[in-house]
């Protein structure tokens, strides 16, 4: 009976304290994940080895150049960024077995059998004056071309899009459609900084 009137603890200030902490965390932390385009840089060449590595057949290479005015040259023809993806896709698939487009090699792929793998390499050259935005736009188109080809390959092999595949299947598809983008040594032509 005597317990009836136990005074409750005044907890109204805990909310304030919690708010204070909340505000602190809101201020000092960052949300959201970092997104971007992943790349692997080629290792720095040894002076002695230099001559050896550059024996890539001419037909297997497409040179994509961006100049200081952000204009684009793919292979031999100037073009817009929007056209680049299709050009790269044709280059990498070589549907008509054109002798001027990259050769395809029969490659034994583990867990899949023998498939034709293109030997095409995309070489990306830029000027010191190229804007970063244009460079990323081109990189993005190149990645998009490869991603679409991977999607097509995984649809054909597994009946699913590339993203839906499990890790093993993804690595198999990556072998079927390799992403070979080489970033060439920098050149300085246009003197715009």
């Amino acid at each position: 009976m005597a317990r009836k009137s136990i005074p409750g603890l005044n907890t109204s200030s805990t909310a304030d304290i919690a708010f204070l902490l909340l505000c602190y965390f809101l201020m000092t932390t960052t949300m959201g994940s970092q997104t971007g385009l992943s790349r692997r840089l080629p290792p720095m060449p040894d002076e002695k080895q230099k001559a050896q590595d550059q024996k890539v057949n001419r037909r297997n290479i497409i040179v994509v150049k961006i100049n200081a005015q952000d204009r684009l040259l793919a292979g031999t023809e100037p073009m817009d960024v929007s056209q680049l993806k299709d050009k790269i896709k044709i280059f990498l698939t070589n549907p008509t077995n054109d002798p001027s487009l990259p050769e395809k090699v029969q490659t034994e792929i583990e867990g899949l059998g023998t498939r034709e793998v293109s030997k095409g390499v995309i070489s990306l050259q830029n000027d010191r004056g190229t804007s970063y935005q244009a460079y990323i736009a081109v990189q993005n188109e190149l990645v998009k071309a490869v991603n679409e080809l991977r999607d097509e390959a995984s649809m054909a092999e597994f009946g699913k899009v590339f993203i839906a595949l499990n890790e093993d299947q993804q690595s198999i598809i990556k072998k079927v459609v390799p992403q070979q983008i080489s970033e060439a040594e920098p050149k300085d032509i246009g003197k715009k900084r």
Binding site: A18, F25, T29, T35, G36, L37, S38, N147
Partner: protein
């Protein structure tokens, strides 16, 4: 609560649960966010790219910010594009030390997976980015990521 019950029917809603709610919010933010370790000294508006992918291991990434200094620092440093490493302006020559220090702070097993995230402003000229890339190649930090917003 007993003091509110004095006048019978009228019940003022207690605020006891609001602290719980706020604590819940607090925990949510504590779990989903991470500490901002550097203060931005350059203005960076990263370009957008539709094929941008998530950075897999955030703890293995080190950041190189490239852009023009923020407004309040322009009087001191000018409006030329600068490189920011950790909390100060640096030149390309300092990247070597920066990469070495970042490597040192990682565990032995993780060092091979270290990613250098280049956060460059979209109006940056490629010259400075190329210099950074060359320097990174020289200190064999070959895994890089061009920071970009996900479009669409």
């Amino acid at each position: 609560m007993s003091m509110f019950k004095k006048d019978g029917k009228k019940e003022v809603p207690g605020i006891g649960t609001s602290s719980d709610i706020v604590f819940m919010l607090l925990f949510f933010f504590m779990v989903t966010t991470q500490m901002r370790d550097t203060e931005d000294k350059v203005m960076v508006k990263v370009p957008s790219a539709s094929e941008a992918v998530k950075l897999e291991r955030k703890d293995l990434a080190s950041y190189i910010n490239v852009g023009t200094p923020i407004r309040s620092l322009q009087a001191q440093y000018g409006t030329e594009t600068r490189i920011q490493l950790n909390d100060s302006f640096k030149t390309t020559k300092d990247i070597r030390d920066f990469v070495a220090a970042e490597r040192e702070s990682m565990s032995e097993a993780d060092r091979a997976f270290m990613t250098v995230c280049i956060k460059a402003d979209e109006n940056t000229r490629m010259g400075i980015v190329t210099d950074i890339k060359q320097e990174l190649r020289r200190c064999s930090a070959l895994k890089i990521m061009y920071s970009a917003r996900k479009a669409e």
